[in-house]
Point group: C2
Chain length 289, copies 2
C-alpha cells in the first residue's frame, strides 16, 4: 500500500484513481475543477482543494494533466510541498524533451521522475488493462512498479523520456497503418470486393490489426464520429517529427501521412472527425467525393 | 468426400494435399517435376504423370501453380479432359485480371471458377489454418467450401477476382506497415529507448501487429534472412498498383513504399533480403549506414 497523490481526474484519471483505490492504495486526488475530484470520494479518495495539499507528504505523485506546460505549472506550484525523495510519475502524454526537462528540474530538488504514458483509452483505464510505457532509472521504476500495475501493464522501456518516445512510436504506427488500411479499403471497394468480408478473412494474419478491423470498418461504413480526433493525431505526429529532428532523423512515411491529415483538417474541415477519416482525403485525392 | 485433382505440389501444395487427404477427400496430384507429387503417395494420393489424366472426371480441380501464365498454360493443356460442370479453384496468387480472364475462358467450356488465394505461409498450409480469400459466384463457392475448409478458413469476399484483390490488399497493408514499423524502430533506437521493451509494451494495443512483433524484431536485431523476399514484395506491389490503375486509383502510400523497396533492391542489392530490410533503406536515407 502506497500513499499517493493523483493530479488530474478527467476521463482517464478518474478510472485510474478508482483502480488504485481498489488495489488498496491511499489516494488523494486533486483536479482543477474540483467537482470531478469529489466524484471519487464515494470510492474512498481523499479530495484536496489545492495541489500542494494533495502532494504534501506523499512518496508518489501521479500526474494525469493535459500536457507538458500544464504539468510543469503544477510542479512549480507544489515545489515546496514535495515529500523528501518523492517520485513524480508523469502519466500524461507530453513531449520526450519536456519529460527530460521536468526530470532535470525535479532532480535539482531531490525529486525522482518516471514518465509513464499510457495507451488503451478509457476502456483500458476502466479495466486496468492500460499499456504503460515507463521511462526512468531502474530504481525509480522499481519503486513505482506496483502502483503502476494497479492500472495496467507497466513495461520499463528506457531512461527518462523513453516512455514518451514509445508513445510517439505508437502514434506514428497507428497513423501510417490508417493510411495503409485506407488504400486497401478503397482498392477493395472500387475493385468490387466486399471489404467487411475481406477484413474477416484477414483476421489473425500478417495484415491484421485493430486498425484494420475497427478503423477499416469505420471507413467502409462512413462512420467518422470520434474516437480519436484528427487534430490530436496531427499534434502527436508533429511531436514525432519534432523528436525525429532532434535526432537528425527523416521519417518519410510519417511526414507524408501528417501532411495528408493536415489537408483533411485544413482544406476539408475534418479536424474534429475520427482519424479514420483519412479515407475521405484519399477519396478526394481520387476525385471520389 | 469429393474427388479432386490438385495441380502443383510444391512448398504450399504438398501440405494442402495432405490436409485434403486427412479430411477424407480422394486426391489425385500432378506436379511438373513428378518426384514432389510421388512423395504424397504414402499419404494416400493418386499420382498422375499428366495434368489431363489428373483432371479427367474430377468435379473439383485445385491449382497451386506458380503464377497466372503457368495456370493458363495448364488450363489449355487439360481443356479436353475436364468433367462436365467441373470447377477450377485457383489457389495460387495471380493477378485479379488474370483470374477474370481465366474464368471467362473456362466458362465458355462450361467450367466453373473460384479464385481462392491464401495467406499464412507454409505454417498455415501445414496446420490447415490458411486464410482463404475466395472470389466467385455464390453457387460455385458453396460447391467448394467444404473442400477449402479442409485447408483453412475460407471466406467468400466477392465475385471472380475478389479473392486475388483481397490478397493484394493484404500485401499492400503488410508493405506499408513494414514502412511504419521501420520508422518507429529507428526513432526508438536513436532516441535511446529499448525497442524490444517497447514492442512488448505495445502488445495488444492499437499499434500492435504481427509486423510490429516479428518484423520489428528483425529490424532491431539486423536479421534480414528471408522470410518474405523483397523482390516478391515488389512484384505484389506492382500488381497492386496495376490493379489500382485499372480502377483509376492513386494509392500514395503504396506507391511511395514500393519506390523505396525498389531502391533497396536495385541500388542496395537487397532483392533477396527479407522485406523487413526496408529498415536498411531508411537508415541509408538517414546517413546511418
Amino acid at each position: 500500500m502506497t500513499e499517493l497523490a493523483l493530479l488530474g481526474t478527467g476521463l482517464m484519471g478518474a478510472p485510474m484513481a478508482r483502480n488504485l483505490l481498489r488495489a488498496g492504495h491511499a489516494v488523494t486526488v486533486w483536479n482543477r475543477s474540483s467537482g470531478k475530484a469529489r466524484a471519487l470520494e464515494g470510492d474512498g479518495a481523499v479530495v484536496a482543494e489545492d495541489p500542494a495539499v494533495a502532494v504534501a507528504g506523499k512518496p508518489v505523485v501521479i500526474s494525469m494533466l493535459s500536457d507538458g506546460p500544464a504539468s510543469a505549472a503544477v510542479q512549480d506550484t507544489v515545489r515546496e510541498a514535495f515529500a523528501e525523495g518523492a517520485i513524480w510519475v508523469e502519466m500524461g502524454s507530453i513531449k520526450p524533451s519536456e519529460a527530460r526537462d521536468h526530470a532535470d528540474a525535479l532532480a535539482r530538488r531531490g525529486i525522482g521522475y518516471v514518465d509513464a504514458p499510457v495507451s488503451g483509452g478509457t476502456k483500458g483505464a476502466e479495466g486496468a488493462t492500460l499499456a504503460i510505457m515507463a521511462g526512468g532509472d531502474a530504481d525509480a521504476f522499481a519503486a513505482v512498479r506496483d502502483v503502476l500495475a494497479a492500472m495496467g501493464n507497466p513495461v520499463h522501456v528506457g531512461p527518462v523520456g523513453a516512455g514518451q518516445l514509445a508513445k510517439l512510436a505508437n502514434q506514428a504506427i497507428v497513423a501510417c497503418t490508417i493510411g495503409a488500411v485506407a488504400e486497401a479499403m478503397l482498392l477493395l471497394e472500387r475493385g468490387g470486393a466486399n471489404p467487411a468480408a475481406v477484413r474477416a478473412a484477414l483476421k489473425g494474419g500478417f495484415a491484421d490489426s485493430t486498425i484494420l478491423q475497427q478503423h477499416g470498418a469505420r471507413m467502409t461504413e462512413g462512420d467518422f464520429v470520434p474516437g480519436g480526433l484528427t487534430k490530436f493525431q496531427i499534434k502527436d505526429l508533429d511531436n514525432v517529427l519534432e523528436e525525429a529532428r532532434a535526432h537528425a532523423l527523416t521519417l518519410p512515411a510519417v511526414e507524408a501521412v501528417n501532411d495528408r491529415f493536415k489537408h483533411l483538417r485544413d482544406a476539408m474541415d475534418g479536424g474534429d472527425l475520427d482519424h479514420s477519416a483519412l479515407f475521405l482525403e484519399l477519396k478526394e485525392r481520387n476525385g471520389l467525393t
